[in-house]
């Protein structure tokens, strides 16, 4: 087992996924990161905490995926001079997370290449750190928007196109700075953080039960994934296991969330490729899914269906029949529409070889989720480590290697088909019994949750003291995948950017949180 060679004193964290907690001195972090990379591991999340009220300093927390397990490493940092070695040299995705950590907590990555602020646009001054525990929850500062030093591209005929934060379409806000020659993109630089809402700080004024509702709103399109990851962490702390039926219901909700999002994106991908027919067809199919969600679960997007201890809604036999009927209808419709997409020369011309992320680049950047699988990266937490009920359902992972828009479209079609298969199995095999168990009201401890949502893995790390949240951090897979989009557009033409962007459909809210 790869974990054993890391020379760490590990404590197993109970719960739904294999997870370990360990402490390491900051001086060891770089060597540890190298050892994890050498074992085909990757950095999954990075966050920090203020431990000064406990007579210590600060702490850096890193979650790694090694050997199909989650390894949570906590490194104590000095109270006066909280520094740790740069991890971005080993795991490039650490770069933006490190910058966010400095903005929020004032702990710094020594030797990091990029020292610009990331989440701090000027809503708080450079010497204030809102996530520190001595900053009251209601503290605010005058908002003074600061300039940002974009990387300049120079040369004959090079010019810039600034886009956002308010975008032309109905999408989340962010800024894209294109450096182009003619129609060709030489460089794209993203600037995110516009929808930073202070979620981590907000968690700290909540009880462990109240926090579930906020977790379900880190990224609205992944509410089931986040609520499940959060509940997994809370249940780990409380050492309580939800009834089997509840776990199967969660998987049902997660697969319906996957289908709904893929349907919407496939519609917009057709539309951005010039085929409005696709948008009308797929949004119709998505609406059918949402309406059945509302009927069976009381919410079109399944918000607040997953709660600590289990789920809030049960499924009756008539509901099961309705789900199976929708699976059949969807399958028949998709066969027709997929054929039309596949045969449409104009659409395929836009999709093929557009926005390529090669498997080598994807591996270097640590691209995960559906975008990773479209570039040959076999990460899917439902498959490895797998967790109940996926261990019984045996998910077939869909992989492609082309890494272009067409590959990401293909993966979405394939994953819808797989989710339909999973939903059928769930409806047929779901065990009976209760749908929730009581979670003790005032637990203390730490726990972590890890769920493969439609976009990629959602991770929630939680520390609770007497039932109140002391520290909670929700990590979105978009942290890993946004930088890949910068690479994917290089050499493409500007009008292909919306198509490439939509093929990833990354979360702004989840990244900015």
């Amino acid at each position: 087992m790869a974990l054993e060679g890391l020379r760490l004193a590990m404590t197993a964290l109970p719960g739904g996924v294999p997870a370990w907690h360990a402490r390491a001195e900051p001086a060891r972090l770089r060597e540890l990161a190298g050892a994890i990379a050498a074992r085909a591991g990757r950095l999954a999340a990075l966050w920090g905490s203020d431990e000064r009220d406990r007579g210590a300093g600060f702490a850096l927390h890193a979650a790694f995926v090694v050997d199909a397990s989650l390894l949570w490493v906590e490194a104590p940092l000095d109270a006066e001079r909280p520094r740790y070695p740069d991890l971005a040299a080993t795991f490039p995705c650490a770069d933006r997370m490190q910058r966010a950590l400095r903005d929020l907590l004032g702990i710094e990555a020594e030797g990091a290449y990029d020292q610009r602020a990331w989440l701090r646009h000027g809503a708080w001054p450079a010497d204030a750190f809102p996530l520190r525990r001595d900053v009251p929850a209601g503290e605010t500062w005058p908002n003074q928007v600061e300039p940002y030093a974009f990387v300049q591209v120079e040369g004959d005929g090079v010019h810039e196109i600034p886009v956002g934060p308010v975008h032309a379409g109905i999408i989340e806000p962010g800024h894209f700075r294109f450096s182009i020659v003619g129609e060709k993109v030489l460089r794209l630089e993203q600037r995110l953080g516009y929808v930073h809402k202070g979620i981590d700080k907000r968690f700290e004024s909540m009880s462990v039960i109240e926090g579930a509702r906020l977790a379900g709103r880190v990224s609205g399109d992944s509410t089931v994934a986040y609520a499940w990851a959060y509940s997994m962490a809370a249940e780990s702390i409380a050492q309580s296991t939800p009834p089997a039926r509840a776990l199967w219901m969660r998987a049902l909700a997660l697969e319906r969330e996957r289908i709904a999002n893929h349907l919407g994106d496939l519609g917009y991908l057709g539309n951005d490729g010039g085929l409005a027919f696709g948008l009308a067809q797929f949004l119709r199919l998505k609406e059918d899914v949402l309406r059945l969600n509302a009927r069976l679960f009381g919410h079109r997007y399944l918000m607040d269906v997953v709660v600590p201890g289990g789920v809030a809604r049960d499924l009756d036999p008539a509901g099961g029949e309705a789900l199976l009927a929708q699976c059949a209808a969807l399958e028949a419709e998709l066969a027709v529409v997929r054929d039309i997409y596949d045969d449409h020369a104009g659409l395929q011309d836009r999709f093929l070889t557009c926005g390529i992320v090669s498997p080598e680049l994807a591996a270097r950047l640590g691209v995960i989720g559906l975008a990773g699988r479209a570039s040959g990266q076999p990460w899917d937490a439902r498959v490895a480590p797998s967790f109940e009920p996926y261990d019984r359902l045996a998910v077939n992972m869909k992989l492609a290697r082309a890494g272009d828009v067409a590959a990401r479209v293909g993966i979405r079609f394939d994953e819808i088909a797989e989710s339909i298969r999973l939903i059928r199995s769930i409806v047929e095999q779901i065990p009976g019994g209760a749908i929730a168990t009581d979670v003790p009201g005032s637990p203390t401890g730490r726990g972590i949750g890890w769920v493969e949502g439609w976009r990629g893995e959602s991770i929630v790390a939680l520390e609770v003291a007497d039932g109140r949240i002391r520290r909670a951090h929700a990590h979105d897979p978009s942290w890993q995948n946004w930088p890949a989009l910068e690479h994917a557009v290089i050499g493409n033409i500007v009008p292909d950017f919306p198509l490439i962007n939509k093929s990833f459909n990354l979360s702004y809210s989840g990244q900015d949180s």
């Binding site: 989440l119 646009h121 809503a123 708080w124 809102p130 900053v135 929850a137 209601g138 503290e139 605010t140 500062w141 908002n143 928007v145 934060p165 308010v166 032309a168 379409g169 109905i170 999408i171 989340e172 806000p173 953080g193 516009y194 929808v195 930073h196 809402k197 202070g198 700080k201 907000r202 509702r213 906020l214 709103r217 880190v218 990224s219 609205g220 399109d221 509410t223 919407g264 027919f277 948008l279 009308a280 067809q281 949004l283 119709r284 998505k286 609406e287 949402l290 079109r300 997007y301 918000m303 027709v336 529409v337 054929d339 039309i340 045969d343 449409h344 979360s507 702004y508 809210s509 900015d512």
Partner: protein, 172 residues
């Protein structure tokens, strides 16, 4: 092409009747004259602004254009620039990092203009509240005519909110 046309014919017309305006959603009394509302009612241009939402409200705003609701069939369409817009449809809470962008978008929208705040967060700040990073509800940053609660509001509720904003309202 044959299969595409066949699928269109087979799908048929899915559009359902639109809801009516709902006076309960109105925040301030109708400010605009009947003549202007008459023009808006036939052709309303909306600029959607995500000022900090979790993206849940955007999912439902997208669904307004699906064949069931067919908002564009009512002469209401989304435009790419605030300079082309009659109405801002704003989701929140307004993050502090979006505060300036939202004010600028509002200023760039020509008069007469309407603002509809969307969702529990747009109406009250919702689960995110007010903090170092969040200004809370939309009305804390720009004037709001109509507020549509919900987490997220359904497409029907959104349509009601939009139609309320362009209706004359009670007492006129």
């Amino acid at each position: 092409m044959y299969r595409l046309l066949k699928q269109i014919v087979r799908t048929g017309i899915k559009t359902e009747p639109p809801p009516s305006a709902d006076e309960a959603l109105r925040v301030v009394q109708q400010r605009l004259k009947a003549e202007i509302l008459g023009v808006f009612a036939g052709s309303l241009a909306i600029r959607a602004v995500d000022a900090g939402s979790c993206n849940g409200c955007e999912l439902e705003i997208h669904m307004l254009n699906n064949p069931y609701y067919n908002l564009e069939g009512l002469g209401i369409k989304f435009v790419a620039s605030p300079r082309h817009a009659d109405m801002l449809l704003v989701t929140g809470p307004v993050s502090r990092n979006m505060e300036v962008a939202l004010r600028r978008t509002y200023d760039a929208t020509p008069e007469p203009k309407l603002v509809v705040a969307v969702g529990d967060c747009g109406c009250t700040g919702g689960v995110f509240g007010e903090s170092y990073a969040s200004c809370g509800r939309v009305a804390n940053v720009i004037p709001v005519d109509v507020a549509v609660p919900g987490c997220p509001p359904t497409p029907i509720a959104l349509m009601q909110g939009i139609l309320t904003a362009i209706s004359a309202g009670a007492g006129r």
